[in-house]
Structures are given as structure tokens and as C-alpha cells.
Symmetry: C2
Subunit: 288 residues, 2 copies
């Protein structure tokens, strides 16, 4: 089936867009994290959100979650690793599944807009955002895995079952879980990914180099430029106009990914605008 819209990102902007599409009975998929927004959750005190005075991030995130649930809106927690514009709509790749839609709303946040040096260049040539998709290519080989969120640790286990050796780079604060014997937890972060036609090695921040055949990068979101080829950026942000339109027809962006201020209030406002633009866009398509 072809959905009316796909929303990528479960922060305040994505939620705001989802509420509006739901109220207008649109068929849409919403990709994100089941517990919604880590960035909201870790906010200590929010004093400037109109309508919810003096609230902790944890509380506000809980209110958002409950509101989505009560509206019957579900979050699909597969990670979308690639989006393609087909000229008549969009295809989103999540794990090994492909989803199609008429319109697209990117609400991917700002935190992970920047990748490692070498990441962009070697994407698809040894750098992968999806262990279950590409892991089989590395049977008996040496790989590195960067895990940006503890939720994705199971991907390291998956890789350990295929590769002979897995260098595990941890990008979150919690302790790492116990791992199979062929997994080596690294204490020095990745500085750069090196290679020519294919990935060859990793440089760590202390300057030491380790040879690897592949690098798996599991973040909560993929940098916009890598997510959707041809998307126009403005520095690290997605370039949009006042209607939240990107340079790609039918593709809208909202929230932190479009730029400062990185504020919940700004994000919900843009999510609302993006959803209304999608409604107009779908109405136009229907006329054609």
C-alpha cells in the first residue's frame, strides 16, 4: 500500500505533525522511538512551553506519549536508513522493509546531523546504517560498530554472530551490556573512517589505527544528506521555507533539523505547519 505520508522522527515536531494528519484521517506511518524523545526526556525543567507550565522533560515526554496513544497513533521503531524520491512519491527503507508514500515529513532532530569524517564518502562501500541488511556481507570478517543508543546494542550481538571480530564503539552514557567473546569494547572514540574504494580502517581519537572491513553506524537518526539524496541543506540543517517545504517536491521538514532555536515550542509549531502543507499537497495530488 502507498501511504499518504511518512513522518520520520518522534520528537515534538513529529508528534505535532502526526496529531494533525491523524485528525484529518490520513494514512501515515510514523517512524521513531517507542519512548518518543530522549532530548525532551533529559530536559531538567521546561518553563517556556505554553500550556504546560513548569514541567520536567520526563513529564512532558510522558504527556506527549499518552496523547499519541489516546489518539491511536503508533510509533514504528524501525530505523529508516534511506529515503528515495521517485518523482511521484517516496520510498523509505527501514531494515529490510520498503514503505511507500505520497508525501514525506522529516523531523529527524539536530543532534546527529554530523557524521564521522569519511562516513559520507564510504557510505555503501563498507559503511552501513543497518546491520540486519548488510551484516551477512561480513561473515568471518572484522567490523566496527558505533552504537549511538543502548536500544541498538542487539545489533552488536547480531554482528558478533557473523563477523569474526567486532570492535564496539559506545556512543551513549549507560554501561554496555555483556557481549560475546569476539566483541571488543573500545574506550577511545572514532575519529575518522578511512578507505579507498572500500573501508580499510578506523582512526581512533588517540591517533591509533585499526584495520576493519566494515563499519556499522547505528544512530537514532541518519544525517539528512545521507538519508535523502539531493536534499538541499543550509549548513548542518535542512533548508526549508516558511511553509517547511524542502527543495524536493512533497518533502517537508520541521523541528530541530531545520535550524535554531532548538526549542520544543518552535518544533511543535513547525510540525503543525508541515502537516498542513502536506494536507494541501495531498489535495493537489487528488486533483491531478
Amino acid at each position: 500500500m502507498k501511504y499518504d505520508c511518512i513522518i520520520i522522527g518522534s520528537g515534538p515536531a513529529g508528534l505535532s505533525a502526526a496529531l494533525n494528519l491523524k485528525l484529518h484521517n490520513k494514512e501515515f506511518l510514523w517512524f521513531g522511538q517507542k519512548d518518543m524523545s530522549r532530548k525532551v526526556r533529559i530536559s531538567e525543567k521546561i518553563a517556556n512551553y505554553p500550556g504546560v507550565p513548569m514541567v520536567t522533560g520526563e513529564e512532558l515526554n510522558g504527556i506527549f506519549l499518552k496523547q499519541a496513544e489516546e489518539m491511536g497513533i503508533e510509533i514504528n521503531d524501525q530505523i529508516v536508513t534511506q529515503v528515495s524520491f521517485t518523482g511521484k512519491g517516496f520510498m523509505a527503507l527501514a531494515g529490510n522493509d520498503i514503505f511507500e508514500s505520497k508525501a514525506m515529513i522529516l523531523a529527524t532532530g539536530a543532534a546527529n546531523a554530523k557524521g564521522f569524517p569519511g562516513e559520507d564518502e564510504l557510505l555503501g562501500r563498507g559503511v552501513s546504517y543497518c546491520a540486519t541488511c548488510d551484516g551477512f556481507l561480513y561473515k568471518g570478517k572484522t567490523v566496527a560498530a558505533f552504537i549511538g543508543d543502548k536500544n541498538y546494542e542487539h545489533e552488536v550481538n547480531y554482528l558478533a554472530g557473523l563477523a569474526s571480530r567486532v570492535y564496539y564503539f559506545k556512543g551513549f552514557k549507560d554501561e554496555a551490556s555483556e557481549m560475546p567473546e569476539n566483541v571488543e569494547l573500545q574506550d577511545r572514540p572514532i575519529k575518522e573512517i578511512k578507505g579507498g574504494l572500500k573501508v580499510g580502517s578506523l582512526i581512533r581519537t588517540d591517533g591509533t589505527e585499526i584495520p576493519v572491513d566494515g563499519v556499522f553506524i547505528l544512530r537514532n537518526s541518519v544525517a539528512p544528506a545521507n538519508l535523502l539524496h539531493g536534499l538541499e541543506l543550509d549548513g548542518p540543517h535542512i533548508k526549508v521555507d516558511r511553509q517547511c517545504r524542502t527543495n524536493i517536491k512533497g518533502c517537508f521538514a520541521c523541528g530541530d533539523c531545520t535550524g535554531r532555536p532548538y526549542q520544543i515550542t518552535k518544533a511543535v509549531g513547525e510540525g503543525n505547519v508541515a502537516a498542513h502543507e502536506v494536507l494541501d499537497y495531498l489535495a493537489e495530488l487528488d486533483k491531478e
Copy 2:
């Protein structure tokens, strides 16, 4: 004293801006209605405001009011009838008082963007937005008063004490109060204000004409183009960029007055953006 900022408009956009300026300890004045937003209040059910699920307009307006109160933010309910850009800041005229500020946020709403035909042309030449300012000019003369909100009915009484005759045009739904003998309540609305060098007459919607010397128009907000000379518009809306900047340095606009969608969520988002731009603007001024 010169304020850091003046906010005009007490809808969701104005509130959002006010919350942020308050949190940053700025000295500002907030003009609007004591009961905040009529447009929010009359909304039957709001289902798409993130963080406050399924709420009536009356309830949400109450939450907004309480939040402002708890933050120690007060609404000044004088009507600002004119704003001037002095090159180094702004002067706002409200009643007979003048207030000065470094920056300006217009959050005046969309409802009253359109005036009567002839209103713009004859403003200051018989058309006035302020009875207490200009009423004395019409001693013993015949005037008309358009009252857009029952809150301003006392202005009719004031005019009746000066003018020989007052044609009272009612622009709100409630019943009119009892009036002095020289006030004539009109049942046919104003179609057009006519005049040459000065106001000469009013045309009512049935085509009948009544001679008047002056026309007092009391709305909750003044159309942006009449409020601030030189402000660039885009149709009936104030033209702004993604940072809510208008064409006038230090003047920002947010909410319904900047265009569709006319949504509370969009309005609070823009109020947040406008306030953050004001903070940046004030910081720049301090460097000079």
C-alpha cells in the same frame, strides 16, 4: 524608561514570546486583553495541541492565563493605536500614553487585518482609533463609532458626552448596553467610509448614506499597515522570514498576523522564534 521590548497581542503567539522574554529577565510591556484570547476561548474543541490533549478553548485559554500569572507576567489592556520606528527603536501610542522600546513584537492576530473601505485613506482625517485621544475635536458634532468588542462600549459613552449625535455600529454578538439619548444604535453595518480631505459620510450595507464628521473605530487590534507605517505586507499578512523578522529592523511578527495556518500550535512556535530573535537583537545592540 525605554523597555527592551514591547509585545502587542495577547494570543498564543504573544504569550509564547512573553514567557521567553520573562525567563531571560528582559524588561518588556505586553499589550492585549486581560482575558487573553477571544479566538482561543471560542474554540469548541482543540485536539491537535501537543501537550494539552482534547481541551476546550475556554480551558486552554484559562491554562494560558494562569501560566502567565504564575510567571508574574501582566497584560496591559490599553489599545496600541500607533507604533513608530525612530531609527533607534520604537514608540508605541496607547491612549494618550507613549511607551518606548528597543525591539517590537507584533502578535496582533489575523481577524481584524482588513479595515473598512476608506478607513486607511481617511485615517487621521476624521477616522480615529482612539476616542479619548481625538474625541474633543468633535464637540457638538456628529460622529459614528464602530465598536468591535463590548469591552470598548464605554468609548461610545465618552463620545456621547462630547458629540451632539453618535451613530453606534456594533461589531460584537452580545446585546448593546443602555446608552445616552443622543446615541443611535444602528442595525445595518458599515459598508464604506467616504470623504475627501476629511470624512464626510458613511455608507451602510443597504446603500443608505449618513453624513458624519468623524468615525471612531475601536477594534481589539489595529490593522498592521495602519499600526506601523512602512511595514511590508504580503496580502493581508505581515511579511516575515523564517526568523520572524519583518522589513523593519528590530521589529518581529508572529502568529496569525504572519499568515496561515491559523493554528495555536503554529502561533506559539513563532512566538518562541520571535522572542529568541529579540534576545539576539538586544545582545547585538549591547555590543554597539
